[in-house]
């Protein structure tokens, strides 16, 4: 199940196009939420590549987003222009992600989740305690946006453009022999080896590319919120990203788009519940996963199959 058909690409492009015309009818807060959706989606696409396509369990993605965000904020504070900070954040996250991949050569599944969880905690502690570099719990404020994209609507369009570029790149990657190798790795590493897949290299690549996308998301997150401190990049965010991927449908190209939408919108819809909103949020997520354990796209595929039609995702493999 590669789930990277032309239709899922078309659907994702439609979502991005829709998001780019929505600002006309939205309040500033809506524009902020939409930008956040774009940023979360980029990060979730990264995790979906590592987890959904290459099958490597990772709770390290919050740390990669954090690394990207801090890299952008710190370099930006020294006057480095945004394109350069974006590149630096991407490369730094790629390099760190490659290193985080090494444990995955030895441990898999739950054990790998623990190792990557420890990494996220480690990065969080560094961000909090190394105040000379990161500003500690006070964080970094007044993060500038690129001059041409300073207004909320313009910045939203920039985030959407980034999401568009990431979507096209990942779609191309998944349909290339590289993407097939990731899927072979997820399905059965031993069989993948007999097909000439360098299991070691692709495991590391799965982490590095997933991490680089996390870094890109971080680079766009910092100027969006304009103030960062360590807590958004703690373990909770890793689990939130994991939830986006799983709810959307792990291993589906379109999954992160839907998962991130739910992660951004559901708390807003439940806002009227005030203090108990988190309990209901949890309940909603649990119910969603009980009804569709393979995610929203897994459910839609099942329903289509039941109606006798071929699964939409596979119409042109």
């Amino acid at each position: 199940m590669a789930h990277s058909s032309g239709r899922s690409l078309a659907a994702s492009l439609l979502l991005i196009a829709l998001a780019s015309v929505l600002p006309m009818v939205l309040q500033p807060y809506g524009i902020y939420l939409l930008s956040l959706w774009a940023v979360y989606t980029i990060a979730a696409i990264g995790l979906n590549l590592t987890l959904g396509f290459a099958g490597q369990m990772s709770l390290a993605h919050a740390a990669f987003v954090g690394i990207g965000a801090y890299c952008t904020a710190l370099l930006g504070a020294h006057g480095v222009p945004f394109p350069a900070t974006l590149l630096a954040a991407t490369l730094l996250a790629y390099g760190v992600g490659w290193c985080v991949g090494y444990p995955a050569l030895r441990v898999q599944g739950h054990y790998l989740a623990f190792v990557t969880l420890a990494f996220t905690t480690l990065v969080f502690l560094v961000l909090r305690n190394e105040a000379w570099l990161t500003g500690g719990i006070a964080g970094i404020s007044n993060i500038a946006r690129p001059r041409l994209f300073a207004t909320p609507t313009a910045y939203l369009r920039l985030c959407l453009a980034a999401l568009l570029a990431v979507s096209l790149a990942v779609w191309w990657l998944l349909r290339s022999p590289w993407g097939r190798a990731f899927i072979a790795l997820r399905e059965n590493p031993i069989r993948a080896m007999s097909l000439g897949v360098d299991v070691r290299r692709y495991t590391l690549l799965a982490f590095a590319i997933g991490a680089a996308l996390g870094g890109i998301a971080g680079a766009f997150y910092a100027p969006l919120v304009q103030y960062i401190e360590p807590s958004p990049f703690a373990l909770g965010f890793s689990i939130n990203l994991l939830m986006m991927v799983v709810i959307g449908g792990a291993g589906y190209f379109l999954g992160p788009f839907l998962g991130a939408l739910i992660a951004v919108l559901l708390p807003e819809w439940l806002r009227f519940l005030h203090d108990v909103y988190l309990a209901f949020y949890a309940l909603a997520v649990i119910l969603l996963l009980l009804v569709c354990p393979t995610g929203l796209l897994g459910l839609s595929e099942r329903l289509l199959a039941q109606r006798g039609g071929r699964p939409a995702e596979r119409a042109d493999a």
């Binding site: 199940m1 590669a2 349909r175 290339s176 022999p177 590289w178 097939r180 190798a181 899927i183 072979a184 399905e187 059965n188 069989r191 993948a192 080896m193 007999s194 097909l195 000439g196 897949v197 360098d198 071929r310 596979r314 493999a317």
Partner: protein, 229 residues
């Protein structure tokens, strides 16, 4: 642990060479060693006069080798087409991969019909053909195929063997391990008898089939051979 010791043979071009031997003789180990999945302590593997010892599977595929392991090697959750595409991961280019997948599907119309079906819905024989077609994506000159008949009904075994013969006509060399010694030797050009990690006999398939020592090497093989004679 040393498994192979004194194992040495040649594989003829555009011919089917079958390796037979009792369980534990080191047949599958030989294949894994050739394909770079197991380290060699001593000895070498030559391909077209070039030393390919210690190369990775990826490098060997690039040099025209392909390996189809024993048992079920498909990815059951993926579609037939996706399975074949996985044979192209070593190619590196998406366009080349897709073109060759179409070639493979042309060769096996039964797979073309089911290109979008989940691979687990194929019959056992079709699954074997799927593995062979996947191996062909790299345009191999030598195919290593380990016990293609395992778990297949006699009719399907004949189908798989016929496919291998077709590939031989196209100029591909086949090195095959078979438990199903008699029917494998009947369609082979050359044969190798392996026992205890050593090559015992090497010769034409016809000679090996007729050799009384072969019958003695395999416990119970004598009866089987006498039966059908």
């Amino acid at each position: 642990m040393t498994i192979l010791n004194g194992c040495s043979f040649d594989v003829a071009r555009a011919a089917i060479t079958t390796v037979i031997g009792p369980n534990g003789a080191g047949k599958s180990t030989t294949f894994k060693a050739i394909f770079g999945l197991l380290p060699l302590r001593a000895g070498c593997v030559m391909l077209d006069g070039q030393d390919v010892t210690g190369l990775t599977p990826l490098q060997l595929i690039a040099r025209g080798l392909c390996y189809i392991p024993q048992g079920r090697n498909i990815f059951p959750e993926l579609s037939v087409r996706e399975n074949i595409e996985l044979g192209g991961v070593a190619l590196g280019r998406a366009a080349a991969m897709r073109a060759r997948v179409d070639e493979a599907l042309d060769r096996f119309p039964v797979l073309r019909q089911k290109a979008h079906a989940q691979a687990s819905t194929l019959s056992g024989g079709q699954q074997k053909l799927l593995e062979i077609s996947r191996g062909l994506i790299g345009r191999p000159r030598l195919m290593l195929i380990d016990e293609p008949s395992i778990g297949l009904s006699p009719l399907l075994v004949q189908e798989v063997f016929a496919t291998l013969q077709d590939l031989r006509e196209d100029g591909m060399s086949v090195l095959m391990v078979e438990q199903n010694a008699r029917s494998a030797l009947e369609m082979s050009d050359r044969a190798i008898v392996l026992e205890g990690g050593r090559t015992r006999l090497v010769g034409t398939a016809r000679d090996i089939l007729a050799d009384p020592r072969v019958a003695r090497l395999f416990l119970g093989a004598e009866i089987e051979l006498d039966d059908t004679r």
